[in-house]
Symmetry: C2
Subunit: 357 residues, 2 copies
């Protein structure tokens, strides 16, 4: 039936195909190629899959038919036969958070070095969506998954892991399964940042963080509490605020702890989204308030004062996680491990301001 | 053969599976489910695909077998049969460029509103990689593609478009095919930004942009030239520098045009990556140099002086492109169109500085 495939070239048929429900109904098939080239189906299959046993002349005829029809091998079928797709998946939390930019790029660079494509998706901090996306990527036969988890129960991945899908968690640990995980030292980094403020004379120090169910937020709060306790400072409830990191919520939290009966003289901001809003709040005050933020932010060094931060190495997190993934796929790494990367205090001015009262 | 599938539960077999080459060899199949439930294959198929004709008791037995074995329907097989996957692909240029964050998130929000998953990949500004990624996503049967193109020849997508894959280009036009494209007014935005500097007394104005083969870079240079010509200013070659946007190249370009025989008194930065480096260069000078940057950047308003920019609405670009894509899929939009979104000049101080000599 050599006349069915070229049909799609005619504009009227393109229109009809778009409006009808048969989305892929008119893709040329191997059968169409065989008919046009005047050869058998097996010969087309040999040419498409690079197998021997085809004369140069026949191969040329098949290639011409492939080009004329716009035939393309269906990888969904191929995946079913061969089981490997040379692709890995990455599940992020938020596509728009700049923290994930260098992390994603590092994962992609490692994937590319291993000849694999990276496909991403974002959970938007929704555990159901994380699961839906992870399973959708597995159903499309990715070889492995790097997951920044939104949920705290990953048993849904167990059948995939058993079936050989390599899995590494990054930034936050997996819940209720054993898996490789690559984290920053969130507790130690926050403790050091708060201790830095204490060393500069502060005692009333505020903490503004992300939602407490998020591992990194809880760990950083724990670091704040540890530093305060180490210094013998009793923490007032009004100095701590955890919740979503949208500017409105953070602004209100900062203003409340800056104006209460025991106003803070310094703020520890729990992540980059919080830091950016706190900088704006502090810029509007007449008195100076010290600030240390978790995560580095672009242009932090050019502000007045420069913003002191506890920097994570986002690229190293991504690179380390992706390298673990490929070691799993190579079969050279078999026991799940927890890897913790150090953070780094970068002093630029805002964290070295003395208490203003 | 009911004993083959549960095998994977035993740790020794997990080890063996990882080290052997058969990645997905031990996934439980419908046949395994049928054997365990003591029913026929067709019955399992009916349950898995939600088809009628199964008694509640039999359905329960099949479901129990599915859970016990960790069976999961293979969507690659399903896609082959049904032709729809409820997913769209997005091909970015650079995962780490903050411009693409809000754009990606907007595409994802529209996809979600249509019940589709978004899967991303990045071309890293490499036309071959763009093609490889686009075809890999098509082979995995995405319903549509939103493409920020790296290349300038997209004829490789014609068979996919004919087969019904919806396609929208964003930020840069498609090459050599007719397709929907959503762009910012790069020419007009740059012309307005440069005219703004001219209105503040500048005549020696530098332009630092991305590689000239990139559409946006070429259009913005054209806008710069038009504004200069409108004002009757002859442009010296030493005032224009196009190339990669890594900090080293941009720094050298800025320093050269700030110290030459006809040093510029103002710089127009062709994108956000350029702007960030130029801000750093200007911060190290003793004299004041005016700056207008294309693209807004976080914290630009808190610098001294605030950075005047020509802002694009990255979220609107992504949203508009994704909505066109779903209109193609609905069959309500059939003729390729070019949509241009306006830019907005945001004055904050750096673009209103007078010439310093």
């Amino acid at each position: 039936m050599p006349e069915t495939a070229p049909r799609a070239d005619r504009p009227a048929d393109r229109l009809r195909d778009r409006t009808s429900g048969t989305r892929y109904g008119n893709r040329p098939t191997m059968k169409d190629v065989a008919a046009r080239a005047g050869v058998g189906l097996k010969t087309v299959s040999r040419v498409v899959n690079g197998e021997p046993g085809v004369t140069p002349d026949t191969e040329r005829r098949v290639q011409e038919a492939i080009e004329a029809l716009g035939f393309r091998r269906n990888d969904s079928a191929r995946v079913l036969r061969k089981g490997r797709t040379a692709s890995i998946g990455l599940i992020l939390e938020d596509l728009a958070d700049p923290f994930y930019g260098p992390l994603s790029r590092a994962v992609e660079e490692v994937a590319r070095a291993h000849g694999a494509l990276l496909i991403n998706g974002s959970s938007a901090e929704d555990p159901d969506r994380e699961q839906e996306l992870a399973l959708a990527l597995c159903a499309r036969r990715v070889d492995g998954l790097v997951v920044i988890p939104a949920g705290d129960d990953h048993r849904y991945l167990e059948p995939e892991i058993r079936a050989g899908v390599a899995t590494v968690f990054v930034d936050r640990p997996a819940g209720r399964i054993e898996a490789d995980v690559v984290l920053s030292d969130n507790f130690g980094g926050a403790r050091d940042g708060v201790a830095h403020l204490i060393a500069h004379g502060h005692r009333r120090i505020g903490f503004i963080g992300d939602m407490p169910r998020i591992h990194t937020a809880a760990e950083r709060l724990r670091g704040y509490r540890a530093a305060m306790e180490d210094a013998g400072i009793a923490v007032a409830d009004s100095w701590m605020s955890l919740g979503v990191t949208d500017p409105e919520r953070v602004r209100r939290a900062a203003e409340a702890m800056l104006t209460g009966p025991e106003p803070v003289t310094a703020v520890f901001a729990g992540n980059n989204r919080v830091t950016v809003t706190v900088i704006r709040v502090l810029a509007g005050l007449s008195r100076q308030v010290a600030l240390v933020g978790f995560d580095d932010i672009e242009l932090a060094d050019l502000l007045q004062p420069g913003v002191t931060v506890v920097a994570q190495d986002a690229a190293a997190l991504g690179r380390t996680a992706a390298e673990r993934l490929f070691r799993q796929l190579d079969g050279t790494h078999l026991t799940p491990e927890r890897i913790e990367l150090p953070t780094r205090l970068v002093t630029r001015g805002s964290g070295e301001l003395p208490p203003s009262d």
